[in-house]
Amino acid sequence: MSESGPVLQLHQVHKSYLGAVSTEVLHGIDLQVERGEFVALMGPSGSGKSTLLNILGLLDRPTSGTVAILGQDCTALDDAGLTRLRGKSLGFVFQFHHLLPAFTAEENVYLPMLADVGHFEPAMGQRARELLGRIGLKGFETRPAAQLSGGQQQRVAIARALVMSPALVLADEPTGNLDQASGNQAFELMREFNRESTTAFLLVTHNPGLAKRCDRTITLVDGSIE
């Protein structure tokens, strides 16, 4: 993987869903995200944002075109290769936080490290506690995820996305399900981590106010970038 150059590069990405009638959702997307960039992705519902995000997150494959993460072409990778790259280089924050309810806040944060190494190491707990402290959840480490408020859960999800120090965090409407204060706090946390590291963020949002606070905004309309 390249140490310099863009974090993410999409070249002529098309995505079609085959059914009785084949429907093309993405029409030749070209996109590049640099290291440390904080990019907003906007677009009306049904414009293909979720499909694009799944392809960027290596959760789905394009019908044609190439996707490169840190210079590595992902088109030819098998499932194991995609999973490895996803685990090490990408972080995810979803609208509905998507924590594992049976685990504590601390465990939820270090789960990606645990999955990567295969067994627990004390350094994992230390790293998780450090991140929880930074997002203002010191004292909540052993609290089961299900017992945290929506805003707290989203902050834990942000910490989980950052625990592997990924090159790119993909955030799908991370503030969409939060009140304004909690949403603002979650956004600021991501912005703060972005400023302090080389981790790039791609934030899907419907909120023009938040988009303005990003480095740049990409608008997706009917499967094409405007």
């Binding site: 959760l59 499932d79 999973t83 490895r84 998507h98 999955a115």
Partner: protein
């Protein structure tokens, strides 16, 4: 702790009610298997013990006499009708050497010579047809421990002492110290003193068996220095048929195993085994389906969590192991409950099913081997039952799983 084990345990913990219900199901299944196995093994051991308690495993006797074909002098042809000869009591030639050979075999636990024949027992005006058994008092105990079955007197067959069954003693009004006249088919008569009365638990044998010394038997049956059979006990009772065939082929003697002599009992035992295996198979199948259905539901319920785990880098084989581990853990823990349940059921049955004197009808066979086997079966059942859900979880498309919520 391994990642997979930690997640498997938490998933089971998360669905407490489902986990408890399926563990209850597995426990009941294993309990039934243990109860049934212990019951049938105990019953079979009891039947075998009662059958073989008074029998040798292999009996060697002189081969039957056969008539030689005769030629028709006129037509120079074999006569069409040849009458079967009557069987005489004959000795086994070279029996001391054969006995020594048998005793040196590692699969033989005891071998003893006997003289067996029919006689009449007379006392006053009463008489009874009896089965005479001339035995070597030192080695006969290895075949049938008559000393433990004595109800009166001692097992002394030296000289002109005899040991008879309680039923015969009752019929002839005999007691220890009384005399009994035995008359052989050739009218040879001997007078014996009763030294003991036995009860082997079978009325017919208590009425017919009369034990005397080997030498007295030889004298009465006119078999001087000879023996009419050699009785053998083996380490493995189920090898009797094989050993009997080997000995028959090697010695040319008539060689019968208890399995041939009690073929109906053997068929009964095998039928019990077959029905037990069938019931156990159906129980295991029900448990497998139970585990599979619970885990399939769990995979559907946890689709979002599985999707998110895949998103943060959980590999397919890790997910496969997480669900296989859940199946294995369910089987393992469920089997421990099953062992408890099965043991209680078996002991409860043993307590209820009793003889008139309060002793158990037959002891249930609860063994460590049975417990170990049950745990392994439950573990295997858990793994088999979880295979399909585990594959389904591993194959889940993360994008679809996350989007569907």
């Amino acid at each position: 702790m391994r990642f997979e084990l930690q997640v498997a345990l938490r998933f089971l913990q998360e669905g407490r009610v489902q986990t408890a219900l399926i563990m209850g199901g597995i426990g009941t299944g294993v309990g039934v298997i243990i109860f049934l196995s212990a019951l049938i093994a105990g019953l079979q051991a009891s039947i075998i013990d009662r059958t073989l308690g008074t029998q040798a495993h292999v009996v060697l006797q002189p081969s039957e006499e056969e008539a030689r074909p005769q030629l028709d002098r006129v037509h120079q042809d074999v006569l069409a009708h040849i009458q079967r000869p009557a069987q005489r009591l004959r000795t086994i030639l070279g029996w001391p050497r054969l006995l020594a050979d048998l005793r040196s075999r590692p699969d033989v636990t005891a071998a003893t010579p006997t003289v067996e024949g029919s006689a009449f027992a007379l006392r006053g005006t009463a008489n009874r047809s009896v089965a005479l058994r001339g035995v070597d008092s030192d080695s006969y105990g290895g075949i049938l421990d008559l000393r433990s079955k004595l109800v009166e007197g001692t097992f002394d067959v030296t000289g002109t002492h005899a040991v008879v069954g309680v039923e015969l003693a009752k019929e002839l009004g005999l007691g220890v110290g009384d005399t009994l006249r035995l008359v052989a088919p050739d009218d040879h008569t001997e007078l014996f003193t009763i030294s003991g009365l036995f009860d082997v638990g079978i009325t017919d044998l208590n009425l017919r068996w009369v034990f005397i010394s080997l030498r007295s038997g030889q004298t009465l049956m006119d078999l001087s220095g000879g023996v009419s059979s050699i009785q053998v006990k083996l380490r493995d009772i189920y090898s009797a048929e094989q050993v009997a065939r080997e000995l028959g082929a090697a010695t040319g003697l008539k060689s019968d195993s208890w399995m041939t002599l009690n073929s109906q009992i053997l068929i009964g035992l095998r039928s019990q085994d077959s029905s037990s295996i069938m019931i156990q198979f159906l129980v295991i199948l029900a448990v497998v389906l139970g585990i599979a259905s619970v885990l399939v539901v769990s995979v559907i319920q946890k689709g979002r969590q599985i999707g998110i785990m895949r998103a943060f880098g959980t590999r397919q084989e890790q997910l496969l192991r997480i669900f296989l581990l859940q199946g294995g853990l369910l089987g393992l823990v469920g089997s421990l409950g099953g062992i408890l349940l099965g043991t209680l059921m078996a002991l409860g049955f043993q307590r209820i099913a009793t003889n008139p004197d309060g002793s158990p009808l037959f002891p249930v066979a609860l063994t460590l081997q049975l417990y170990g086997r049950s745990v392994l079966v439950a573990l295997g059942t858990g793994l088999v039952g979880s295979w399909l859900p585990a594959r389904r979880a591993a194959a889940l498309d993360p994008a679809v799983a996350i989007r569907n919520e």
